[in-house]
């Protein structure tokens, strides 16, 4: 008997978002317009079902030909080097998604939309 596990993209996005926000030098994730609208509709839908959605704003997950790619948009802290923040998010997301879901992430891409003075 073979058992197949399917982990939906929003789950991966939620896990990736958690890893990204905890990475050093990340102030917050930036959902962008599409992200805001998707998050609202998703939140509304889940509220009807009585669930609170895990935040995944600013993270998009795509599976093409069995290759899993994650895209993270974020605001970085001015106290850290932007390139270093980007690399540590790439590593953190890839590692955390694998440890939480067992899936191998083929690539993680990071877009730093803005740099802000660190407040945390």
């Amino acid at each position: 008997m073979s058992v197949e596990y399917v982990i939906a993209d929003p789950v991966i996005a939620g896990v990736a978002a958690r890893a990204a926000i905890a990475a050093p030098g990340v102030v917050r994730l930036e959902p962008g317009l599409r992200g805001l609208v998707t998050a609202w509709t998703r939140a509304a839908r889940q509220r009807w079902k009585g669930l609170d959605p895990a935040p995944a704003d600013g993270v998009r997950v795509r599976t093409v030909d069995g290759r899993l790619s994650v895209q993270v948009d974020l605001i970085a802290s001015g106290a850290d080097q932007a390139a270093t923040v980007g690399r540590s998010v790439q590593r953190a997301v890839s590692r955390y998604v694998t440890s939480q879901t067992g899936l191998v992430v083929d690539e993680v891409s990071v877009s730093i939309m803005d740099i802000e003075a660190a407040t945390r």
Binding site: V37, A76, A82, M113
Partner: protein
């Protein structure tokens, strides 16, 4: 400073675009609004957002207090998405940063030189990691003849690009296009964050 408000690359404000949204739609747009690609991009984003959220507006739910900030930040990010610079990374995937964020860092570095105020920062980027920067400056009367302040600007801007962003500049052009007196110059050392 420009890092925390909602300024577009054309120096207009997203809030201003939002307020003028209906006016521009109805006809009386000013010349800038007709030709500026940044204002147009922001306007289109805001219109799309308004349309997409009109259903949500009908719900009797109270919007969260930081909603306005979230929307403005999202619109600004949307405008920036068009011009990104690749940063080096050994990991699979890419790391990129918006030209506006790089410009803010470089302007800030130039501002730290006494008697120098950074104005406009243009970034040219061929997509393969070669980045050229043109920085427009105003100098104080005291520095008017001094190449010393300018070489300090060059040094600090290059250092900031490497240390704060992780970029090596292929070219840095400094353009002095204005001079300011010291009486007005007292506001030059704008309190940095």
């Amino acid at each position: 400073m420009a890092m925390t408000d909602y300024e577009l690359p054309c120096e207009r404000d997203v809030e201003q675009v939002w307020e003028r949204l209906d006016a521009v739609g109805a006809g009386p747009a000013d010349e800038h609004e007709l030709i500026c690609p940044h204002c147009r991009a922001a306007r289109e984003s805001l219109l799309a957002l308004r349309e997409a959220t009109s259903e949500l507006v009908l719900e009797d739910e109270v919007p969260s207090p930081d909603l306005f900030g979230k929307i403005m930040s999202a619109v600004r990010a949307e405008v920036r998405r068009g011009s990104m610079v690749r940063l080096p990374t050994p990991e699979p995937g890419f790391v990129e940063i918006s030209e506006q964020a790089v410009a803010a860092v470089l302007r800030y570095a130039a501002d730290t030189v006494e008697g120098i105020r950074a104005r406009r920062c243009r970034i040219r980027n061929d997509g393969a990691g070669v980045v050229e920067v043109e920085l427009t400056l105003a100098v104080s009367f005291r520095n008017a003849t001094g190449g010393e302040a300018l070489s300090l600007v060059r040094e600090r801007v290059t250092a900031a690009a490497a240390a704060r962003v992780g970029l090596t500049l292929a070219k840095l052009d400094l353009l002095v296009d204005d001079i300011f007196g010291d009486t007005a110059g007292d506001t030059a050392g704008e309190p940095g964050e």
